[in-house]
């Protein structure tokens, strides 16, 4: 019997606002415990929330970029639960009237294109962080309490671990370009919940689903889906019932396990949030947001192929992150050799990023410097091989410009025909045997002469010029012999 995996995902995304959802505390990551907290996010009695205006801009942008219908009317609700990560004992969220509905993301997995539906996107607040470092209690750091999130809820359209990963990566990519979130996985800016069930292939009805929460990397997402789907298939084959439950993914052990049912006995008793008034969005505001939406990755790829004549593969690599595409675009604006620039960004630069453990935003030189380097090569001042050595030094701290690096290391090619002619004449005189070989038709001897010239000039002779001069002078010598 063939089985099919059915997955719906919820993606929590921390928005790139400066302040929290309902108060003016900073959202900055990594502050000391409880230093980003105030009476509002600590839920002191008598406080009232006031919505952050920027959150609306970001939620609208996220919705538009994910092809959603932006709702003219939306509002907040309270999701009630007792857990010490939220001092209010409820999370302010949008249940009945979310800000965005009915979108989709087009993905390509296993060589096939398909659309993954987006059911809804709503605004909600993040919870605090619980630390389990105390011997006789649990500790709460409230810095993250009230950080604004958008939760993106997909339709159960995902059918494999690969599709789940591609979908998550695509959503991340789109949100990064729109600036809705910094999308830093290592800071938990993006977290995935997976609802997974198994059914017989071709069946209409869904199987019983389990939920895995807070997967915080694409790798964990892929592995968790693979493990959990296998587990369910085995249970179904053995005739065991799948229990609807929340399961915890242990990324170190690579297994999922059931959480005690009491921990997930959730009855949220949603009700309208009386402290916040409705959000009414005009058609003008939504259209204005649509007009100012930045170019998204797919549109960029198409443009790179069309305007720069780049292969689709290059276009995809260059748009995989916003920073990479920005570096490419700035460089290509100064130097009209798109394929050459693409090669340097895709092939030559990445090993240094890996070695230095930095991202492309942290490259210690500017697109202007890369252009200077490419110009030096193009003008024959240095060879391509030396160019790579110059690049490696450009990654060092307090490195000068490419020209300064070339000068300091005396790497400039000898491109002066007069100077080079003297050296070549001397080498031809010393190597009469090569001359004889060439006379006999052994062209390989040219290679030997070139080698000698490179040796004599410590590799600094411009190879094209040297070859040209050698040929001219050898022919002259041979003619004078006749």
């Amino acid at each position: 019997m063939d089985y099919e995996i059915v997955i719906g995902m919820e993606i929590h995304v921390e928005m790139a606002t400066k302040t929290k959802l309902f108060c003016n505390c900073t959202t900055e990551f990594g502050g000391n415990e409880n230093t980003h907290a105030c009476p509002i996010c600590l839920a002191m009695p008598g406080t009232l929330p006031v919505l952050n205006e920027k959150v609306l801009d970001f939620a609208i942008k996220a919705g538009l970029a994910l092809n959603c219908e932006i709702q003219h009317y939306s509002k907040f609700d309270r999701k009630n639960y007792f857990y010490p990560d939220l001092p209010k004992a409820y999370q302010t969220s949008q249940f009945y009237y979310p800000i965005c509905k009915d979108g989709y993301v087009e993905i390509e997995a296993g060589g096939k294109k398909k659309k993954i539906g987006i059911t809804r996107i709503h605004i909600e607040e993040d919870a605090g962080k619980l630390l389990h470092e105390s011997v006789d209690g649990t500790l709460l750091d409230a810095n993250r309490c009230g950080v604004p999130l958008v939760e993106i809820v997909s339709e159960p359209d995902i059918r494999s671990a690969e599709e789940a990963q591609v979908f998550a990566e695509k959503v991340r990519n789109i949100l990064e370009y729109t600036g809705v979130s910094d999308c830093k996985m290592e800071e938990g800016s993006l977290r995935f919940d997976v609802n997974l069930s198994i059914r017989e292939k071709g069946a209409e009805a869904f199987g019983t689903r389990t939920e895995m929460k807070n997967l915080n990397s694409f790798r964990a997402l892929g592995r968790a889906v693979q493990y959990e789907s296998k587990r369910q298939v085995i249970d179904i084959k053995k005739g065991r019932e799948i229990i609807q439950e929340t399961r915890k993914w242990d990324d170190v052990k690579g297994v999922s396990s059931a959480m005690r049912s009491k921990e997930e006995a959730h009855d949220y008793r949603y009700f309208p949030e009386p402290d916040l008034v409705p959000i009414i969005l005009s058609e003008e505001r939504i259209e204005e947001a649509r007009r100012t939406l930045p170019e998204l990755p797919e549109a960029k790829q198409a443009r790179y192929v069309r305007d720069y004549g780049l292969p689709q593969y290059d276009a995809e690599v260059l748009t995989a992150s916003k920073a990479t595409s920005q570096f490419f675009e700035k460089t290509v604006a100064l130097y009209d050799e798109p394929k050459q620039i693409s090669n340097w960004i895709m092939v030559e630069i990445p090993p240094f990023l890996k070695e230095k453990e930095i991202s492309i935003e942290e490259i210690p030189f500017q697109p202007e410097d890369l252009v200077e380097l490419l110009t030096l090569i193009q003008k024959g001042k240095i060879s391509g091989k030396i160019g790579k050595k110059v690049l490696s030094l450009m990654f060092e701290e307090s490195a000068g410009s490419p020209s300064q690096i070339v000068e300091e290391n005396q790497w400039a090619q000898m491109s002066d025909a007069g100077e080079l002619s003297d050296i070549i004449a001397k080498i031809i005189d010393e190597n009469q045997k090569s001359l004889d070989d060439i006379a006999k038709g052994n062209k390989k001897a040219y290679g030997y002469l070139t080698g000698q010239v490179m040796k004599a000039t410590k590799g600094q002779a411009n190879p094209q010029l040297a070859n040209q001069l050698i040929r001219e002078m050898v022919e002259k010598k041979l003619n004078s012999r006749d």
Binding site: C38, L131, S134, L139, E263, L276, I279
Partner: protein, 95 residues
């Protein structure tokens, strides 16, 4: 409408109230009264009344995204019954 003993116990559990067996009876009676009182509203004919999602005639109340100082750590933890490592300390929950 009336409330069952099971429903009352369930609500107590959700609100983390520990009730003794004999206390539950009292709550059933109280909750019944409250629900019946609210039920009187159902006697009104609301056919032509527009649904009200919020009682205030306000919309789009927002503030600018500008950082203001948070409380000092002393102020944050001032009313905490227990604290450790500059954190609020609560009864142990499972990870």
């Amino acid at each position: 409408m009336s409330i069952s003993k099971e429903q009352a116990s369930y609500i107590a559990e959700l609100t983390r109230l520990e009730l003794k067996e004999n206390e539950i009876e009292g709550f059933v009676a109280d909750l019944d009264k409250i629900i019946n009182y609210v039920d009187t509203i159902n006697q009104l004919d609301t056919t032509d009344v527009e649904t009200t999602e919020h009682i205030l005639d306000l919309k789009n109340v927002t503030r600018e995204d500008v950082v203001a100082p948070s409380l000092s750590i002393e102020e944050v933890l001032k009313n905490a019954p227990e604290q450790e490592m500059n954190c609020f300390k609560v009864p142990r929950v499972l990870e």
